[in-house]
């Protein structure tokens, strides 16, 4: 393999930057993952613990409301909840700005890429009220600290996170023979949602050898996993289906219900060869091509199995495989990656992003992302964003990218770079004659800069 610093920055990083030097070696890239997370401290995003304080406050207001229906206190509490919802909405827009700031300035861009990859692999979102704003805090607390550890730790952190439990209805699932079901009421039986997605999406993969019986048994084993106010993981024995469950031929539980049996099945699933294959394939596809080199997939799978799912070792295998460095760029940046890397190429100063009010941030980032096909923190399903290039480079997506490229940079920066220089800074060795010509021939700076960003040469990785 031939290490290429610019390709490294484009394929495995956040794109070329006018102020951050490209990495010198694969080892340097990998080292950045175990260094202190400096960029996260510089551009903080609320942790889920802090987000819970918002939820707790809203719940206390709800109590006041219910206790004194129709009274002035209840009205004030209702108003207070509305204010809280609004504050959370504003915070959500500011966190998107922080994600972008991190992409613009980070010296450890592989961490941003891996965080985005795993947050999508473990897609979760809130479905009502304030919790709709909780995806970034979840990403910050459950995903980001675990991207360089073992897959099993990441799996447990994500799947047993209250936001995932809420998103995939685990809190509504109770064993049919549980104490809770016997009491009657709304919660009377199993909901297989989380169990199915753990097998299909998070671990083994859709084609893997598991059956509907495995799904049902896993769902029964998961009963008891729920959350308690404000929104903390809680295992409730009265929800749990009594007796042992058999998942993929192995028996779990049987004694008094305990969350340790749930953790045990997660760890076993994490070590399953089908999981190794599924993760290897997904990483290879995300970082190299829609149709990744089978030898690359195999190398990642072997390393995954050998190391018991040590993710840093798997990344090492990825970055040291020749298929990772073929000069032909056959992947396309997903929408957020496109936007983040464009702002990095421009070197948008962080105050220009941080100072935006919510409405403007939604106009400049959230609405265009939606037109590009990425509804920010409102996933279409637990399978997250599409990997296929054609899903992004469709007529509407490409129109949205072109329009954003020409109009938004000038709203973020007083002095746009000269397109004639910008084309080389943004594309480096991947500059093509057509884009260079367009950068020179454009009538205005914004057209020139926009055409560089909208070019296939910029959007391919």
């Amino acid at each position: 393999m031939r290490f290429d610093p610019q390709l490294a920055e484009i394929r495995f990083g956040c794109g070329l930057s006018p102020s951050v030097a490209a990495p010198k070696s694969v080892d340097q890239m990998l080292r950045t993952l175990s260094d202190t997370d400096a960029i996260a401290s510089r551009f903080p995003i609320e942790t889920f613990d802090d987000f819970q304080k918002r939820i707790a406050y809203a719940q206390s207001l709800q109590k006041i409301r219910k206790k004194n229906r129709g009274s002035p206190e209840a009205l004030a509490a209702k108003k207070g909840r509305r204010v809280l919802n609004k504050e959370a909405r504003i915070a959500q827009a500011s966190w998107l700005g922080q994600h972008l700031n991190r992409w613009v300035s980070t010296e450890a861009p592989l961490r941003e890429r891996m965080t985005v990859f795993w947050a999508d692999h473990f897609t979760a979102a809130g479905k009502a009220g304030q919790v709709r704003r909780a995806a970034s805090p979840y990403m910050e607390s459950a995903i980001r600290p675990h991207i360089n550890g073992t897959f099993e730790d990441l799996l447990v952190a994500a799947v047993l996170h209250p936001l995932m439990i809420h998103y995939l209805d685990q809190n509504r699932s109770v064993g049919a023979s549980s104490e809770r079901a016997a009491r009657g009421g709304r919660l009377s039986g199993l909901n297989e949602n989380l169990a199915r997605e753990v097998l299909e999406l998070h671990t083994l993969g859709v084609g893997a050898p598991y059956t509907q019986t495995d799904v049902t048994e896993l769902a029964e084993l998961l009963t008891g996993v729920t959350y308690a106010p404000p929104m903390r993981l809680k295992f409730r024995k009265d929800y749990a289906e009594p007796g042992a469950e058999t998942v993929l031929g192995k028996s779990y539980g049987g004694g008094p219900a305990h969350i340790r049996d749930v953790v045990a099945v997660m760890r076993d699933l994490a070590h399953h060869p089908a999981t190794a294959h599924h993760i290897a394939w997904k990483l290879a596809m995300h970082f190299t091509s829609d149709t990744p080199d089978p030898d690359l997939i195999n190398a990642l799978k072997v390393r995954f199995i050998e190391t018991g799912g040590d993710l840093s070792a798997v990344y090492d295998a990825l970055l040291k495989h020749p298929a990772a460095w073929v000069p032909q760029r056959s992947n396309v940046k997903p929408a957020f990656h496109f936007m983040g890397s464009a702002m990095r190429a421009l070197g948008v100063p962080d105050p220009a992003i941080t100072s935006l009010d919510e409405k403007t941030a939604r106009r400049l980032f959230v609405a265009p992302l939606r037109e590009m096909g990425h509804i920010w923190e409102k996933p279409d399903g637990p399978d997250g964003l599409p990997e296929e290039d054609a899903a992004w480079i469709a007529p509407q997506g490409i129109a949205a990218r072109l329009q954003w490229s020409i109009t938004v940079p000038q709203l973020l920066m007083k002095d746009l770079p000269d397109p004639r220089e910008f084309v080389h800074n943004a594309l480096g060795e991947f500059t093509t004659p057509a884009v260079e010509f367009a950068a020179n021939a454009a009538e205005t700076r914004w057209d020139g800069v926009g055409l560089v960003l909208a070019s296939p040469a910029f959007q391919r990785t």
Binding site: K127, L168, G381, I398, A399, Q403, I406, A442, A457
Partner: protein, 414 residues
């Protein structure tokens, strides 16, 4: 394109091409290949839970008055009697000419199989997935996409998802075009030409860009703008803005017009959504606004498609659930169960309110609070797919709406 291409050569070449996109090589030639029949279906998702009892009012039911009052027939410009039993909300008065021609109809007391939780999120998931329940997780595809997979000779343009909405109802394996009139391009003529040039580096980008230009230029306002930066931003803002006092066309009208234009050509299935039905308070006003949007969208479709194409078209508007039978303490209604499906179109055998009416006595209500659903909305949709596109009953019962009980044919099509 070679390095030696200079600005002057490029400009003179583009001058020969001319500024009109219609004459430029950017426009994809129209396809005249066989399409899957001539019939058209438009599916409108009414997000938020439409109050069926407020839109088509069963004033003939003796229990209605206690719940909702007299039906509003006596008010000036109030509700309109449809058939001596049901009255139409005044917000749909603009559709009365369609009713008179038999091109407007309703199915009342319908619902998806969704029960009890009354959550928008799950209710809409189920409505779009077309499944019997979500106990096995959310579906990866929507029923309209699965239906599309059974259509013969489906092509690139056969189905369109329109607007900013993700429209999971059309997500899935069959190819679907997506376009939002708000994504309309506004660029300088020079940028248009240069964009065409850079996209030629890459076939995937080139094809998508050409299609984007063709769509964007066919929707009434040209892509090219020659003005200053301020003009460009202004036009862009206009193309994104929803209806305000000054703008005469609403977003719904623009979406419906775009849909109508596509349906005049190769498109056979289109879907978009209209929000604003979650009328928890003061619904006299809120429901009226939402109904205006719906009637605007339907009339714009009719106007855009005109005669022969409209006569091949059925429009259905469905919602995730109905609302409570009783008005709540704030002049609105809360999430309920049984609701209403609105149908329109030149192909429709309308002019009737179809319902196996369950009654509105408290004992007849679902959970003593909601209109009791007496028929699965998927049965109507299934028969529509059967009659309009020739989908077999078994394809509908096993693939499009797994587990649905189709029941008797409501004969929705002329």
């Amino acid at each position: 394109m070679t390095q030696s291409l200079n600005r002057r050569a490029f400009l003179s070449r583009s001058a020969m091409i001319g500024c009109s996109l219609a004459a430029s090589p950017l426009v994809t030639p129209l396809s005249f290949a066989a399409t899957p029949g001539e019939n058209r279906l438009v599916v409108i998702l009414l997000r938020g839970g439409m109050d069926g009892l407020g839109v088509v009012r069963p004033y003939g039911d003796p229990a209605y008055r206690a719940l909702r009052g007299d039906g509003g027939l006596s008010e000036p410009n109030g509700a309109v009697d449809l058939d001596g039993y049901f009255a139409l909300h005044p917000g749909l008065r603009p559709l009365l000419p369609l009713w008179d021609k038999g091109q407007l109809g309703f199915a009342h007391a319908v619902s998806t199989p969704y029960r009890d939780q009354r959550s928008h999120f799950d209710g809409q998931d189920l409505l779009e997935a077309g499944l019997s329940d979500l106990n096995n997780g959310t579906s990866r595809d929507g029923w309209l996409n699965r239906a599309l997979q059974h259509l013969p000779n489906g092509q690139t343009d056969t189905a369109y998802a329109i607007g900013r909405d993700q429209l999971s109802v059309l997500s899935g394996r069959a190819e679907v075009q997506r376009w939002s009139p708000e994504a309309d391009l506004v660029l300088s003529p020079q940028a248009i030409k240069l964009a065409g040039l850079i996209m030629q580096d890459d076939p995937l980008f080139d094809a998508a860009f050409q299609k984007a230009m063709a769509i964007s230029d066919s929707d009434g306002d040209a892509v090219a703008t020659t003005g200053s930066l301020d003009d460009l931003m202004q036009e862009l803002n206009n193309s994104r803005k929803q209806s305000s006092g000054k703008n005469r066309t609403t977003l719904e009208q623009r979406i419906a017009e775009f849909a109508g234009k596509r349906l005049r050509e190769d498109t056979r299935i289109a879907s978009f959504s209209i929000n604003g039905w979650d009328t928890h308070q003061n619904q006299g006003r809120a429901l009226h606004i939402a109904l205006n949007r719906l009637s605007n969208a339907i009339l714009t479709l009719q106007e855009t498609m005109r005669g022969p194409v409209w006569n091949k078209t059925t429009v259905v508007a469905v919602t995730e659930f109905g609302r409570t039978a009783k008005i709540n303490g704030t002049g609105g209604t809360d999430h309920g169960t049984g609701g209403l499906m609105v149908m329109a179109g030149g192909a429709l055998r309308g002019g009737r309110v179809m319902a196996d009416w369950p009654g509105l006595d408290e004992s007849e209500l679902y959970g003593r609070r909601d209109l009791m659903p007496t028929r699965d909305v998927r049965a109507y949709l299934g028969w529509l797919l059967h009659n309009q596109f020739g989908l077999t009953k078994s394809a509908i019962e096993t693939s499009v709406f797994p587990g649905v009980d189709l029941g008797a044919d409501p004969k929705l099509i002329r």
